[in-house]
């Protein structure tokens, strides 16, 4: 129940939201910078916790609808309150998180504890005033977007117009208006007329960060389609198809499974997009469809372990990835390892999120996995990796070098060393 299923910073980076398998959302807030300690960034403390989704029963299919939060996306802040969208497999909810630090006191007809006063005892009138109180953070559901998905929702993405958003399930993508809950437009439908002909499903979708008419969706076959909503109401025909040609002589039983894209993210500039498949991270230039501009191997040593990874289902793990602007990308791996790739220097690093191996406030030691042959000191052999310790969800602060890394049950927040 405490398994973290999504992690997301808000637009300013001040707030960090996590969703878990039990349907709960926990929001952390960064402390104000301590002026006396120069260059020390604030720590993140719990700000609000609320139950976003509850388990439901689909009567028609006799299936349980899990309350697990699949994705959280923040809206940009427009007023004092914060808004986020959270979704499980079937229903998206818009939550308002607001602060209350004042309370009206001095009612004429009510005592302070809420009991009603006998009106006949009231001899004078007073004007109620607002007095400060301990900060209370309240979360309330403002919109519920339900009943628009037959299949399981894997992505939500807020448009750069800040008025609409998309939700994607295995076979369809819908466009919503944030104010309207009783209608949504279907913009992509890849369901075949005959389900026997089903060959691929939608795995992720995202709106372009600047062009409000453009979005992309990735598939289980390793392709990405870019669609332009100006072209037609139903974007079944893509504007661009990004696919890396495959060498047919290298094809194996596992090829399609490991090519399935588990996450797609645009760079902040919108010029590039990154995809994550089982073994690698690929950077694509939107102007070039026939191959990625860069490919980074996350854990190539697993290629010779695919048989066991298929048997224990790990080959189906869905890793996410994230950007630091347009220069550094980060993604998770097994054994609580996570990897970062610097596009400019071409350097990469493997780090570990674990309490046993890292004391707080110490610099993380780079890790190395020994694929074969003699294991050097401090290296870990592939066979000793713990495949139950997977880092599927990571997030990078939008402005600073602060990262959030989720292991199965714990959230780690790291920041770069400031001098």
């Amino acid at each position: 129940a405490d398994i973290i299923s999504t992690v997301e910073f808000n637009h300013s980076g001040e707030l960090l939201a996590t969703g878990d398998k039990g349907g709960r959302v926990v929001i952390f807030q960064q402390e104000q910078e301590n002026k006396s300690q120069a260059h020390s960034r604030g720590e993140y403390n719990v700000y609000s916790t609320f139950q976003s989704h509850e388990p439901e029963f689909d009567y028609l299919k006799s299936l349980e609808i899990e309350e697990k939060i699949n994705k959280i996306r923040w809206l940009p802040q427009k007023n004092a309150a914060q808004f986020l969208l959270s979704t499980n497999d079937k229903t998206i909810k818009l939550w308002k998180i607001s602060e209350r630090d004042k309370r009206p006191e001095g009612y004429n007809l009510k005592e302070e504890d809420g009991r009603y006063r006998d009106p006949t005892t009231v001899t004078t009138l007073r004007v109620p005033v607002f007095r400060p109180m301990d900060l209370m953070v309240e979360a309330s559901p403002r919109r519920i977007f339900a009943n628009a998905h037959t299949y399981h929702i894997n992505s939500i993405s807020i448009n750069s117009d800040y008025e609409t958003y998309l939700s994607a399930d295995d076979l369809r993508i819908n466009l919503w208006h944030l104010e309207i809950t009783d209608r949504s437009f279907n913009i992509v439908d890849i369901k075949p007329a005959n389900m026997e002909e089903l060959t691929e499903v939608i795995t992720a979708a995202e709106f372009h960060p600047n062009s409000c008419n453009t979005f992309v969706y990735s598939s289980s076959k390793g392709t990405i389609r870019l669609c332009d909503m100006r072209a037609s109401a139903l974007c079944d025909r893509h504007s661009k198809l990004f696919e890396e040609p495959e060498d047919p002589s290298n094809r194996s039983f596992f090829s399609e499974i490991i090519s399935s894209i588990s996450d797609v993210k645009f760079s902040h500039s919108g010029r590039y997009m990154m995809t994550r498949d089982y073994l690698s991270v690929k950077i694509w230039d939107l102007n070039m469809e026939n191959r990625p501009v860069e490919t980074y191997q996350v854990h190539e040593y697993l290629r010779s372990k695919l048989c066991s990874l298929y048997e224990n289902d790990c080959i189906f793990d869905k890793f996410e990835c994230c950007w630091n602007g347009s220069d550094i990308v980060m993604t998770g791996s097994y054994n609580n390892f996570f990897r970062m790739f610097d596009r400019n220097t071409k350097r990469d690093i493997t780090l570990e999120a674990s309490r046993e191996n890292n004391k707080p406030r110490t610099v993380l030691k780079p890790r190395k996995v020994c694929a074969s042959g003699k294991r050097k000191k401090d290296e870990i052999s592939v066979d000793s990796l713990d495949f139950n310790k997977k880092i599927l969800h990571t997030a990078w602060h939008p402005k600073e070098n602060i990262i959030a890394v989720a292991t199965t049950n714990n959230l780690y927040i790291f920041q770069d060393k400031t001098n």
Binding site: F57, S62, E64, N250, F253
Partner: protein, 99 residues
């Protein structure tokens, strides 16, 4: 020797050979309909909403273990046999039909 040859060329193919050796009946098209259909319908299937609610209640009871008559309940998991059911108390009023 054939497997070793493959290993130097393509680790994926070697792994595929291992898998086929373990499961010779593995389908021709791994990314084909069956696999995707299972993905589309993830989640545990229940017989009906009553079955679902019983399972949820049992989960709740497991979280807060309370000894009591519930532990002797046999219904819900499997079809009970006459031996499983508690003995019926003999009625105070005997039926006119009984010998």
């Amino acid at each position: 020797q054939v497997t070793q040859e493959k290993e130097t060329i393509n680790p994926e193919r070697a792994e595929e050979a291992k898998l086929k050796a373990k499961y010779p009946n593995l389908g021709q098209k791994p990314g084909g309909s069956d696999f995707l259909m299972k993905r589309l319908q993830k989640g545990q299937k229940y017989f009906d909403s009553g079955d679902y609610n019983m399972a949820k209640a049992k989960l709740k009871n497991k979280q807060f273990p309370s000894a009591g008559p519930e532990q002797n309940l046999v219904t819900g998991d499997h079809i009970p046999t006459p031996q499983d059911l508690p003995q019926r108390k003999s009625s105070l009023i005997t039926s006119k039909l009984a010998g």
